[in-house]
Each structure stands twice: as C-alpha cells, then as structure tokens.
C-alpha cells in the first residue's frame, strides 16, 4: 500500500515530483563536479542554455494539448534565425525591425503549418515532417550552406546580454508584490462566493516559499552579471502562456479541443480556428527561439535548431503533458526543458562522451513517461 500512496501522491502533484527530480539531478552533479555545477556562473549558463528549448516547449505544449504535434519547429527555428542573421548582417536593418520581421515570418509560417493540418486536413505529423525537411532546405538555400557572421552587437545582446541587477531586483519585487496581491484577491473572491478555502497558513507558506525562491534565483544570477536576457524572455513567455492556459477563453478551448474535438465542435466552437491560432503561437515561439539562438551564437548557422523539435517535445512529455491531448501545463513543459538542459550541462561538465549523453537523455524521456503512465493508470 505504501508505494501505491506515493504513486497517487505523485500523480496528483506532478509538478512537485518534477521539482524533486530536478533537485536530485542537481545534487548528483553537484557531488560529481565537486560543487562546480551549482556555482552562479554555471547556473546562469544552464538557464541560458535551456531558454531556447523552453521557448519551443511553451508553444509545443499547446500544440500537444490540442492533440496535434509539430515536428518542423527545429527547422523553422533555424530558418527564421537565419533570416534574422541575414537581415542584420547583409541588410543592416535596425534591430527593432529585424525582430519584428522575424516575428511576423515565424507567425506566418506557423499559420501555414496550421492551415495545412486543419483546413486542408493533412495530419500535423506529416505537415511537420515535410516542414522539417523543406524549411531546413530553404535555410540551406538562402545561406548557401555557410555561416553568416558576425551579427550586430544589439542582436547579440538578445542572446548574451544581462539585465542590469537593479532592473532585475525591481522586476522581482514587482512580481512578488503582484503574486501576493493575486493570492489575497483569490481568497477574497472565494470568500465572496462562499467557496471552500485552503487554510490561511498554507497560502502564507506558499507566498513565503515563492518569495524565497525568487530571492535565491535573483541573488544567484546577480552574482554572475544579472538575469540573462533570454532567461527573462522565457520567464515572461511562461507567465503569459500560463495566464492564457488558465484564465482565457482561448486557453479553455485549447484544452477542450484536445480532450474531445467533436464535442467541442458541436458546442459551437470553431475548432479549426483554435488550432490555427495554436500553430501561429508555435511559429512565434520559433521566431523567438531563432532570434535567441542566432544572438547566442552571434551568427546564423545552417544547422541551427537541428533536433530542436525533439528536445521541445521531450520537454513537454517529461513535464507531464498527456500524449492523448487534453492535459498538460506550461510550467511543467518549462521544467521538462530544465531537466533536459541540466542533463546536457552536467554531463558536458563531466566530459561524458556525446554518445552516452544521447543514451541518457533518451532513457530519461522514456523513464519519465513510464512513471507518468504507471502512476496515472493504477488507482
């Protein structure tokens, strides 16, 4: 009975289990690297590394919740990143314009994927597979197969820059105040409608824990230059997407479409339009990912984003997204990306052979889904 209770608990508090897994991975690497893994410098790098996969995972989690899949995102990321590099290097476009054009291009290509798999009813798996090849081909064509470098400093800032510590402190303080107020308002709302309340101490503990986590996060990153720009971008996107998923009409429809598309259609919801928007968002995430990637490398590379789709999909599944659609969280997907990045980073520090890294990452993915399946199905 003991193991069953633990399983049940895991199924209910998936996120908690994931955080525990992260802690275990970090402690493991901490000892093997004699502490080098948990230095501010390495953690800052680690978070920066995860940001691209994290951004893709934020978009992908909606795609998977809606019961679809998009295999083209790695190539798409490479393509829009390459276009950004060309605009910057060859045409010397101002950074604002480069970013805007890249974002529009990402959204349009995402919508094109979505249009094919919804209105034209080509399975998204096939559309993605085709796009994976075709977008990569276009990228190779426009770059003539060579790296485009160097890009301007302002673009590089997007990938390698840091937010000044003071600005970071201010943001964190605002965030903390915001979250505290949200908790208080939620309590008031529930009281107004006479709904069941969690005990006050639980909310207090939650807010304090959140504050401590925020403080730890900030002091660690401030000890090494401040919050990296791509990490800030990821956190912002994670916040916005979580809001979309939980609070908006669109978010509710994403879950409904993935859970039972026919019933949702018969409820008077334009299912195709919902899916189209999801693919559009996915394209936007590819644009952000591409920009960050180009900026981080300070170059547009024809091989950028290779296998990025697999990392993103793996992150979603590790983060507890259901393969059959209908359930999953943005936060979980980001944590999944953190798991993948931690493994990459830790093993690289230990000079583990590349082949071992692949074996370990693949096994972790299968293991994570296995735990999810056995803890979910047994009652």
């Amino acid at each position: 009975m003991g193991t069953q209770r633990v399983m049940h608990y895991f199924a209910r508090y998936k996120i908690l289990a994931l955080l525990l897994a992260i802690a275990a991975i970090w402690v493991f690497f901490f000892f093997l690297t004699q502490g080098a893994f948990l230095t501010p410098r390495n953690l800052s790098n680690l978070l920066r590394q995860m940001s691209i996969t994290g951004l893709l995972a934020c978009g992908m989690v909606f795609v998977i919740i809606a019961g679809e899949i998009d295999l083209s995102v790695g190539s798409l990321l490479g393509l829009v990143g390459g276009v950004a590099a060309i605009l910057d290097f060859s045409y010397h476009l101002p950074i604002v314009l480069t970013v805007l054009v890249t974002m529009v291009l990402g959204v349009l290509l995402g919508l094109f994927n979505g249009y094919l798999s919804t209105y034209q009813r080509i399975p998204s798996f096939i559309v993605g597979l085709g796009g994976m090849l075709a977008y990569r081909g276009v990228l190779l064509g426009i770059t003539a197969g060579s790296t485009i470098a160097p890009v301007s400093d302002s673009l590089v800032y997007l990938g390698q820059g840091y937010l000044p510590p003071l600005a970071g402190d201010l943001l964190a303080a605002l965030l903390f105040i915001g979250l505290t107020m949200l908790t208080v308002r939620q309590r008031q709302d529930r009281a107004r409608y006479q709904l069941a309340q969690v005990p006050r101490w639980q909310d207090v503990v939650k807010v304090i824990a959140l504050g401590l986590a925020l403080l730890g996060f900030l002091t660690t990153l401030n000890a090494y230059g401040g919050i990296p720009v791509p990490v800030l971008l990821l956190l912002a996107i994670m916040g916005i997407f979580t809001y979309i998923a939980n609070q908006t009409v669109f978010g509710r429809r994403v879950y409904a479409v993935g859970s039972n598309m026919e019933a949702t259609r018969l409820s008077g919801i334009n299912v195709n339009r919902v899916k189209l928007a999801i693919f559009g968002l996915m394209g936007l995430m590819c644009a952000f990912g591409g920009l960050v990637n180009t900026a981080r490398l300070a170059a547009g590379s024809p091989s950028a984003g290779t296998m990025g789709e697999l990392d993103a999909i793996a992150a979603c599944f590790i983060g507890g997204t259901s393969m059959r659609g209908g359930s999953g969280t943005v936060f979980g997907a980001v944590i999944g990306a953190l798991v993948m990045a931690s493994l990459d980073n830790g093993m690289s520090m230990l000079d583990v052979d590349a082949f071992w890294q692949m074996i370990v990452k693949g096994s972790i993915l299968v293991l994570a889904v296995w735990i999810d399946v056995i803890s979910g199905s047994k009652r």
């Binding site: 609070q247 908006t248 879950y255 409904a256 026919e262 019933a263 018969l266 409820s267 008077g268 209908g326």
Partner: protein
C-alpha cells in the same frame, strides 16, 4: 454441489476508501436468466467487472463460487476460460474485419505455419449463426456493413464460440430497434433452453420482464432484493430501484403552443462514404413555439442525420433550407446554429457530448465562455456563479464543479450536456435520444425539465427510439423511415403500433416533381 452455477456472496469493492459495492449477493442457476436492476451508479457495472475478472481476485472482498469451486480470476482471460463471458454495452468488434474473423478473434483457426484457415472459420461461424437462428449475415463481410442490431448478435455468437456457460449482457439493447430487440430476446430464451445462464442488465424493464426468471435489485452498492420475476411488477422493480414510488413516469404538464417558429425545408443528406446514397431524402417539417416534436423511426432511418443537418453538423454533403421565425438563416456549422438560436444535445454522449478532461462546470460553460470574458480573460467567479446556479436547477449531483465529468453517472453527464446547450438561451432545442443510458430517476428529471422549457416558450425536437417516451412526451410526432418522412401525427390517441407501421411501411410511389 449446489443448484447454482454461480454464487457470489458478500461482494464488496472500494475505490480510494469509498464503497462502490457492499455485501452484494448474486446467484445464477444453469439455464436461468437473472435480471440485474439498479439505477446508474448503483454498482451494476462494478459488480460485472468483479465477476468478469476486470478487477482481479484480491482487489475486492467476498467470495465467488463457480460450479461449486472458488473462482480466483486474475484477469478477463481466466474467467473466459472458465466460461464466463461479458458482452459490453459498447460493442467490442473490429469494424474492418469480417464477421468470422471477429467471432474467432483471439482463437483463430490456423493451418500449419500460422496461416489463417478461413474455410474452417467461415464454416464454423456459419454453423454457429445458424444454431442461433440468426439470418441475413454473410460471415465473410466486414462487420461494419451490418447495423447495430446484427452486430449485437455477432457479439453473442462470438461469446458462445468461447463456450460460454454464463453470459453477462450489459445493456445489450441500448442501440437496437424494436424488431432487433425481439430477435435478441428470442435468442436469449433459446440459450436458456440450451442450459446457458445469463445475467441481463437493462434499463428497459419490459425486456427484463420478458426474459428474466429472477430479479436482483441493487441500490447505492447495496443488495435490495432478489425475487422471482413472477412475484414482481415493473412498478415494484422501479420503486425498489429508486427507493421511492414513481407514480407517473411521464410528468405531462399543460403548455401553450404558439405560431410556427422554425421550418426545415427540403433537407437532403448524402452518405459520407457513398455520396450516391441519400441518408435523408427531401424531408421538410415545421415546429411551433412551445411545442414538443417527437421524432420516431427505426435506428438508421436517418433521424440523427436530419438533426445534424439542421444543426450544421452533418459530416457529409447535404442541402437544407432553414427558417427561424420566418427568416431564412444560413447554417453552415454549429457556430451558426447556436447563434441562430438552435441547440442540440447529441445522441452519442461519450463521443459528441462530454469533454472528459474538463470539469463538470467547465463542460457546462463551453458554449458561452465569451460571455464571461473581459478582453479574453474569463471572470472565474462569474463563471462559477453560473455553474452553481445551473447545477442546482438541474440537480446535477457532483461533489464539486471541478470534478471530472467522466467520473459522473450517465444521468448527471447528460444534465451537464443539457446545461451546456441551455446556457446560450436557445429558441429551439434538439434532443437526440436524451434519456439513453440514463437511469429512471434522472429520466424523470429530464422529462420535467423538457416541460419546464416548453412552458418558457422554448420549442423541443426530441428524437427517441423508445416509443413509450415519444408517446408520453410529444405534442406531435414525426415518423422517419429509410430517410423519408413517413408520417406527421398529432399525438392524440396515437399508438405504438401506428408509429411502427408508419416507420416500416413501403414508400408510396409519388409523382416526381419537375
């Protein structure tokens, strides 16, 4: 050695601390048919899962004696080997495979080298069907070429091919027409003569009465009574099931009928697979304000297709002209239909009604979400308020609106789906088999709701395969047969026979309009 082939005593089963079954006894003698009655959620399905080995031995309390020996099944395979075969409510056939392949599923006859011995399987399958007096089935044809009624009989043949000594029939008639049901009942009676025992679960008490020797009633997981059918009446069984007397199953209430509010003209639907074939052939009808229009007909007559076309949800090609309050409205999809004031509660609740991973409450508000939104953000408190009001009004029994809808009983799921279609404030509400798989108590509440709605001036179209329901509720009855309108009757002194006769009569040749 006792007289019983099966003796279940003191069966109990808990799910995370909540008792679903508590001290249930069930005894079946060879050649006997026991009717297991109870409302949805009473524990019938759970009991059948215990018996058929879905819940392995050790995960429940009590004792099962099978042919005098204790049965300790670890899986469905074990019980099937012992001769206990369950036929589920949803058919478990593979539509693309042939009838014979389905009958021999998992025990295929093979030639050396593993090749399928089709000749032998076809022969055995034909013999089996002949033994059951099932006619009109070609065993080499794919199962999907046959209707629900034939498929149900194929399921029974499949079960008997496993040397079943005890058949568990879980709502076997829920998708059958009246004539198919009588064939089914006849076959069950034949089986009894051959010494095969049956447990028959059905909400349709007339069937239970027609075929069962003994009735066991359970309620809320407890054993209520086991009595010979002869000593019982339908009313008595119902009152034991619900624990109270239901005087009148159809709570008719007076309501005013106004002018024509809705018209459907020349609705024609073409088959999805074979566009040459018309599923609905030029049907026109109208509906008045506050009227309950019953739509009767055999299963597969085209009633559901007609309703789907009216609601803009028919999957194939179709044409129709729809008028709401005298105005022609263009209905291309359910979005158009709902904004034109038409709502539809679909026939297949599981596939088309519920969104299983959302909570009960979120299912209810799915069609009206933008109404709670400010700049795309849902006002959660306002939504919850609406949900609570609706749950109270329709007495949806769920501990919390956040509870998954899939965990509720059929009746409560149906009420939630109904709420979903009521919240957009429709003028016309289409109910396709609104009481299918719903227990007696919830049925009564749904009928009461229907009358409450017409009193408020909403017009109802109710498709139903249960003629007593059609006669008990409707103001007017449309009869559909083979895609055509076969009758439009005012429900006065109308009899089941009249409706049935209209449904199966040959179409009268009519002069073709130019």
């Amino acid at each position: 050695m006792s007289d019983y082939i099966l003796e279940m005593t003191g069966i109990g089963k808990s799910f995370s601390g909540i008792k679903a079954l508590d001290g249930i006894d069930l005894r079946v003698a060879p050649g006997e048919c026991v009717g297991l009655c109870g409302e949805n959620g009473a524990g019938k399905s759970t009991l059948m899962k215990v018996l058929s080995g879905v819940y392995p031995h050790g995960s429940w309390d009590g004792k099962i004696l099978w042919q005098g020996q204790e049965l300790k099944a670890g899986s469905v395979r074990d019980t099937e080997r012992a001769g206990i075969v369950i036929i589920h409510q949803e058919l478990m056939l593979v539509p693309q495979l042939s009838v014979a392949e389905n009958i021999f599923m998992g025990r295929e006859l093979t030639r050396p080298g593993g090749r399928m011995n089709y000749a032998a399987m076809y022969r055995r399958a034909e013999a089996l069907l002949a033994e059951l007096n099932i006619e009109g089935i070609n065993v080499a044809q794919p199962v999907m070429n046959y209707g629900g009624g034939h498929q149900q009989l194929i399921e029974i043949a499949k079960a008997l091919n496993k040397d079943a000594k005890l058949l568990l029939l879980d709502e076997p008639s829920s998708s059958l027409t009246a004539s198919e049901i009588s064939t089914l009942l006849k076959i069950v009676r034949d089986l009894k003569k051959k010494g095969v025992a049956c447990v028959y679960i059905s909400h349709k008490l007339d069937e239970v009465e027609a075929v069962c020797d003994t009735i066991t009633v359970i309620r809320d997981g407890h054993h209520v009574a086991t009595q010979p059918m002869k000593a019982l009446s339908t009313e008595r069984i119902i009152s034991m099931m619900v624990g109270r007397e239901i005087k009148n199953l159809f709570p008719r209430e007076p309501h005013a009928i106004g002018d024509v509010i809705f018209e459907a003209r020349h609705v024609t639907c073409y088959d999805v697979v074979n566009p040459e074939r018309k599923r609905v052939d030029d049907i026109s009808f109208s509906l008045r304000r506050g009227e309950i229009l019953g739509v009767a007909g055999l299963v597969g007559a085209g009633r559901t297709e007609l309703m789907q076309a009216v609601f803009g949800a028919y999957p194939g090609e179709y044409s129709a002209e729809i008028l709401v309050e005298g105005q022609v409205v263009k209905i291309r999809n359910p979005v158009d239909a709902i904004s034109a004031g038409i709502g539809m509660v679909p026939e297949d609740r599981k596939r088309h009604g519920i969104v299983p991973q959302l909570g009960v409450g979120q299912n209810m508000t799915l069609a009206v979400l933008p109404g709670f939104a400010h700049l795309g953000r849902i006002d959660a408190a306002a939504e919850l308020n609406t949900i609570h009001t609706a749950m109270a009004r329709l007495s949806v029994k769920a501990a919390s609106p956040a509870l998954s809808i899939a965990s509720l009983s059929g009746g409560n799921q149906q009420k939630a789906v109904l709420t979903k279609m009521l919240l957009p404030d429709p003028k016309i509400l289409i109910l396709d088999e609104p009481t299918r798989g719903v227990d007696v108590g919830a049925k009564y509440e749904i009928y009461k709701l229907i009358f409450e709605l017409v009193q408020r001036g909403i017009s109802i179209i109710m498709v139903s395969s249960e003629l007593p329901e059609i006669l008990g509720i409707s103001d007017r009855v449309l009869v559909i047969g083979e895609g055509q309108l076969r009758g439009d009757f005012v429900n006065q002194d109308l009899s089941q026979e009249q409706i049935l006769a209209a449904a199966i009569k040959q179409p009268t040749p009519s002069p073709r309009a130019a």
